[in-house]
């Protein structure tokens, strides 16, 4: 398909979105990520039944933490898409990048490159 999506996106693969941990999400912000999103399977299509629902709940939990820290909760989102939806993956990547770009850089300074 060779679809283009913004190069600023760093993809971290997991066996299931349910494997996402609150700490993974927070550490990304600690290291200065401007935005983080979790791309899970369509609701109802989880191979492990509820992994994507659990991921969404964790994303919502992190939203509350960000809010308490005075960081826009919109900097973290959960998206559902099937693995057959390459074009949607690229579209979400573009749209989320635009949303975050509109918000400006994260108020947390970037970690220095190792």
């Amino acid at each position: 398909m060779r679809l283009q999506y913004p190069t600023n996106i760093r993809v971290i693969q997991l066996p299931c979105s349910g494997r996402v941990d609150i700490l993974h999400l927070l550490r990304a912000f600690e290291d200065g990520a401007d935005g983080v999103y979790v791309a899970g399977c369509m609701e109802g299509d989880c191979h492990f039944l509820t992994g994507n629902f659990k991921a969404r709940r964790k994303v919502n939990y992190v939203k509350k933490i960000l809010e308490a820290l005075g960081i826009e909760p919109e900097r973290i989102e959960m998206f559902n898409m099937s693995s057959a939806e390459g074009p949607r993956f690229a579209q979400v990547a573009r749209e989320f990048t635009e949303t975050i770009r509109g918000m400006g850089p994260s108020p947390v300074p970037k970690a220095k490159a190792a």
Binding site: L23, L26, I65, A68, L69, G70, P107, V108, P109
Partner: protein, 222 residues
Amino acid sequence: MIVGDSKPLEEILEMIKDKKQVLVLGCRGCVTVCNVGGEKEVGILATALRIAVKKQGWDIKVGEMTLERQCDPEYIEELADPIEEYDSVVSIACGVGPQFVSERFPDKRVYPGINTTFIGGAVEHGVWAERCQSCGNCLVHNFGGLCPIARCSKSLMNGPCGGSANAKCEIDPEVDCVWHLIVEKMEKMGRLEELAEVWPTKNWLTSRDGGPRKRVREDLKQ
């Protein structure tokens, strides 16, 4: 287990904002089981604090450590070396933790990172409910295994009261009337007539009303 709730991040930040080295200290006891103060929560709280520190441009080092328990001096002792690097501690154990830590290390500022709420159990994954009020004189066997002290809003020994409606308590339609549950359970067990017994006023001296409590086992004491 002892159940607690995390304090709001804003409150914890206010505590530590003028500190230089802060240790977030967890406990592998009850608060690990109720997902509020174990190793995982230490990581989450410390990371959240580091994000806040970076955002504000403060110069605070936030460290992480989790003890086996914070209610036993031998485990608190493990802090002796690592605590040297810190000027303050945020303990996310129950209320015992910050007291034991500050007693052992009197020159450190120790802050409670959680609010200890009750003695209870997990009624489903992620939901905990109060089951014991540590009144010091357990009587649950007389009430079908249900505690009227901890679970009745009025701690009635002879219930239910007039506020019970449709098996719920008048304080909140979400709260079960434990006396309704007691009557149902006793009926099911064929023990309903036992509830005809009128309980005299409870002696609260064994509870907190008798002042701070202490337990001594002479055979174990050194």
